[in-house]
């Protein structure tokens, strides 16, 4: 397992470096003077000179890159248009988005996995068709539209839940009230994918020889399904989760925009609207880094679960 982890971590580092290079080059590709872009559009010559000095804009590109990375690793991602340190803004917003992401993944898992299992066990019957149909719908409905509909229905018409905004953890009940709709909306797409993957994976597992052995041993159906088949299927599904992470990040951006939650995603949206290049640069870099790290964690989880990797 050690070898596997080392290789995966090495790969992740390589990807991280290349991605950061791309972000770096991207900022330099913005039309116009990079000093203006990096200086949050401030055209005051003194400020421009200071920006040029700080980012070493007169030196060759590789030097600029190294310096820029150096600054980033020390938590300096520049200042945005409102003169606030980008890193600070991003860091203050991440916990909110993290809460949204984790909550929605939780909901998706709690709904999607059992549904997929039931659909596989009752293949071809009513439960299977119901789950497959719902999953298909979940895949086909853009979740921001779902969000809009949810707001119209639950907030505007029924007044059960607030239409948007965010309340901190100091008021847990209110926090939940505000988060429940966005989390459910974001969870819809993933639950759909999970349902389908789980179903397909369980069908494979249940058709395997070792299930016949388990039955021949006289184990109860519950034991056969939940212990023998499910363990194998969960491992396969973990790899799928890794691929969904990217969609999760995209989904967070959209959902926060719809529900006006001041998180990392909404920050992304605002940064584009304001054409705040320093902020955009910081956001893209952090998003990419976050994805790579999360992916690595999924890989680690997978290696722990899969005995073929763990025991070698």
């Amino acid at each position: 397992m050690g070898g596997f982890l080392i290789r995966r971590t090495g790969a992740a580092l390589v990807v991280l470096v290349v991605s950061s290079v791309l972000v770096f080059l991207g900022v330099r590709a913005i039309p116009g003077d990079p000093a203006i872009a990096l200086g949050a559009e401030n055209r005051d010559p003194a400020v421009l000179a200071a920006v040029r000095h700080k980012y070493l804009l007169d030196r060759p590109l590789p030097v600029q890159y190294a310096h820029w990375i150096w600054l980033a690793l020390h938590g300096d991602l520049g200042t945005d248009q409102r003169d606030l340190p980008v890193a600070h803004t991003i860091v203050s917003r991440i916990p909110i988005s993290l809460e949204l992401a984790i909550l929605s993944m939780l909901i998706a898992t709690l709904v999607g996995i059992p549904a997929g299992v039931i659909a596989a066990v009752r293949r071809g019957k009513l439960q299977d068709h119901a789950v497959t149909g719902v999953a298909l719908l979940g895949l086909s409905v853009p979740h921001f539209w779902l969000g809009l509909l949810a707001i119209i229905w639950f907030a505007v018409d029924l007044h059960w839940l607030p239409a948007g905004g965010y309340v901190g953890w100091a008021h847990p009940l209110s926090n939940l009230e505000h988060m429940i709709m966005p989390a459910c909306v974001l969870a819809a797409g993933f639950a759909a994918v999970l349902m389908r993957q789980m179903r397909s994976s369980m069908l494979d597992s249940l058709g395997a020889d070792y299930i016949r052995t388990a039955r021949a041993k006289g184990l109860s159906e519950w034991s056969v399904i939940c212990r023998h088949a499910l363990r194998n299927s969960l491992i396969t599904v973990t790899t799928v989760m890794g691929l969904q992470l990217g969609l999760l990040i995209s989904g967070v951006v959209v959902t926060e925009t719809v529900f006006q939650i001041a998180g990392f995603g909404e920050l992304t949206f605002e940064s584009v609207n304001q054409r705040d290049y320093t902020l955009i640069q910081g956001v893209v870099l952090v998003a990419a880094t976050g994805y790579i790290v999360a992916n690595l964690l999924v890989d680690i989880a997978y290696s722990l679960l899969n005995p073929r990797i763990r025991a070698s």
Partner: protein, 321 residues
């Protein structure tokens, strides 16, 4: 002890019904080794898997399977599960895929011990080590915590056997236990089976398409063809005086080492193919390929008759080749 009568199995497929087994009957006495022989698709596995209802839902099983006086086909699911793994257990053909890849060997053996004998985790562990030693797996303590993919094919099969004999069953059904293994490993497994019969007194149903295996281990043999029983006899009797043309054909097709005198005999192959199992022909299933076929065999189903002491044949023209 085990009495199967009038067993028929029909699968409903998209291409129509498939009659895999047609009115089979079998008996098994305590401690005896019964060989069930036939080519692929003749219904031997299906017959034996139907004892404890291990077939998929698409299979319709009719008939009676009496085990110690109780009909297993009508038993409740719960009662049946008490018999599976404890009184009647199985060893399957593919050791690679018959063990769950995500559980350790120890866990998979211990599972039956805990479920049927109520052993605690610790007791199951030590008993598992004993069982692994019984099936001659070296370094048993270490193997306990290993995963199936870390063992060789032969060892995996031994683990399967350990699982099967863990609760000291009365019947062990081995479905082509050696077919997927190298020839050199096969002998070891067969040795083990003989050992088990002698030491534990377990009755064994040995399914195989290899007559050599049968000659080696079995007491009695049943030859199946196209879902029906063709011939049944004690092993020495069958090999010395085969009666059914199919059996004779099978024996003729066994390669024998050249013994040095005269010209070598050609391997006899049986011309033709196994009939499709979509219909139940009202005739001898072997008629199309049989050198002794005539009007009678093509129009009636031959019934089992005792043509020599303890030797039964379903043929209109039994006799030596």
């Amino acid at each position: 002890m085990l009495e199967v009568s009038d067993l028929s199995v029909r699968f409903d497929t998209d291409d129509g019904p498939v009659h895999a087994v047609d009115r089979m009957s079998l008996t098994l006495a305590p401690g005896e080794v019964l060989g069930v022989v036939g080519e692929s698709g003749c219904g031997k596995s299906v017959t034996c898997m139907s004892f404890v209802r291990l077939l998929p839902e698409t299979a319709h099983v009719t008939g009676r399977v009496l085990f110690e006086g109780r009909d297993l086909l009508t038993l409740s699911a719960r009662e049946l599960r008490r018999i599976r793994g404890r009184e009647i257990s199985y060893v399957f053909q593919e050791p690679m895929s018959s063990l769950n890849p995500v559980f350790t060997v120890g866990r998979q053996v211990g599972e039956v011990l805990q479920r049927h004998l109520g052993l605690s985790r610790a007791a199951a562990r030590s008993r598992t080590i004993e069982l692994l030693r019984l099936v001659r797996i070296p370094a048993a303590e270490r193997r306990l915590d290993e995963y199936p993919h870390q063992l060789s094919g032969g060892m995996r099969q031994r683990v399967m056997i350990a699982i099967a004999i863990a609760c000291d069953p009365k019947v062990l059904v081995a479905d082509e236990p050696t077919t997927a293994l190298d020839v050199t490993i096969q002998a070891g497994i067969l040795d083990l089976m003989r050992d088990i019969r002698e030491r534990l007194g377990t009755a064994i149903v040995l399914i195989t398409h290899n007559l050599g295996v049968v000659a080696d281990v079995a007491d009695r043999v049943v030859v199946m063809y196209a879902g029906r029983k063709a011939e049944e006899a004690p092993v020495p009797e069958l090999f010395a005086h085969p009666q059914h043309p199919y059996t004779i054909g099978l024996l003729g097709a066994v390669p024998r080492p050249y013994e040095g005198e005269g010209t070598r005999e050609r391997l006899q192959e049986i011309p033709g193919r196994v009939p499709s199992l979509h219909e139940l022909p009202q005739a001898c299933a072997f008629a199309d390929r049989c050198p002794r076929a005539d009007e009678v065999t093509r129009s009636q189903i031959p019934q089992l008759r005792e043509v020599r002491p303890s030797h039964f044949v379903a043929c209109f023209h039994p006799g030596p080749g």
